[in-house]
Symmetry: C2
Subunit: 244 residues, 2 copies
């Protein structure tokens, strides 16, 4: 049977989603290890996409084929009993036989959270990136408008040797101020390696006046990673939703 | 000059508010150590009250006399630069010479948070107490009404050798359901040792049907700690506000 899993994780302690040889602390690796124990066979968990080391997820989606007599709720409870406390499986559902978490993903929502308060954030300190000073949000929104659309995002791709197409459609960038927290929401049909973090790093360069809003159009057109801003740190990033 | 400090902390790593000889990890101890370094003299930080090991605060209040030429904002920034990442000083203000954080406290608000979801809470797992099952909130509210008022709370005091008065006024207990999170808010003029945790442990006994709501009146009247419920774990508790 094929199953769809919805998974939340605090990425702080993990090397990222993707399993790695001889590395225990990956999310895919932890899921596969518990499910292999449950079914007593080798299990392949397919995520909607990879997340980097230190990046979080509120609703990552994975598909997995399992031979088991357990109900979906029992699978969920088994996972939650044996997974470490920073991974939770919020839902297990029976999926159609053809469902594939990566190939069938139509869109994704990411949120990047910055913190601009005078005192440090105590309770969500693992989930925000602390900024020195307050960026100009109006300038950031102007730049964001120029990034939205279907473009070659090669300048915003962490893999500079990427051979496949780097064209993606970024539908929206929504920037919300919530007290000392600044949230950047990104929705698109797919994201390149480090793309959200490089977009955020570039928008923050605009926010702090080191780039003008219209500079981002030139950066997009140049298809040159070295012209975009720095890769923003991982802990502010969270995968919020995957559309199917 | 006398100062009023407003402090947030994640109590997870700490042995509690109160300084202890040869123990580095207390909140009072950390504050005194940074302020002593700043002023190059011994410093006494007076909290509105102690919090137990593992208990959090969003707005603990302290008073402290300091000899310094720094402005309140500079003191705040100095503290936030040198304190560990799980303590933040959100405000430093000049206080009247007679202001005393403990003696002048008129009331306090505590919040106790339980989690009843099927999957574990990933992002706030250090700030909630996970329950097995869902308690009957209506029964808990009935019991809570019987606890509100001015009573001898000896049955709800963790120090069974307490010589001073154990009479306190508990103005309100508000129980709010927020999805899988159950918040118990307590406001009163003062709280005995472990009082909020024992009240919570007792209300949960009612919620799970091991006590009837009206039993709490007998427990109050008996002035006997052994009749009340268990002391609920510390991580769900947070000091939210101190009134002056």
């Amino acid at each position: 049977m094929n199953y769809k899993l919805t998974i939340a994780y605090d990425g702080t302690r993990f090397l990222g989603w993707e399993r790695q040889p001889d590395q225990e602390w990956t999310i895919q690796g932890k899921l596969e290890s518990v499910l292999s124990r449950m079914t007593e066979t080798k299990v392949d968990v397919i995520g909607s996409g990879r997340t980097d080391a230190g990046v979080h997820a509120r609703a990552q989606v994975a598909s997995v084929r399992l031979e088991t007599t357990l109900s979906p709720e029992e699978i969920r409870d088994y996972l939650n009993r044996y997974l470490p406390e920073d991974i939770a499986v919020n839902e297990v559902r029976i999926a159609s036989d053809r469902f594939h978490a990566r190939y069938n993903a139509l869109g994704k929502t990411y949120r990047y959270t910055c913190y601009t308060g005078a005192a440090r954030p105590v309770f969500d300190r693992r989930y925000v990136t602390v900024l020195e000073g307050t960026p100009d949000v109006t300038a950031m929104r102007q730049a964001a408008e120029l990034l939205v659309g279907t473009h070659d995002f090669r300048s915003f791709c962490g893999n500079t040797h990427m051979k496949k197409s780097t064209v993606r459609s970024l539908d929206t960038i929504r920037i919300e101020e919530n007290g000392p927290r600044l949230h950047l929401y990104y929705h698109g049909n797919g994201f390149l390696q480090n793309m959200v973090r490089i977009l955020t790093g570039t928008l923050l360069e605009v926010g702090f006046g080191r780039l003008a809003p219209q500079d981002v159009s030139d950066i997009l057109a140049a298809c040159d990673r070295s012209l975009a801003g720095p890769t923003a740190p991982p802990q502010g990033l969270c995968l919020m939703k995957v559309d199917y």
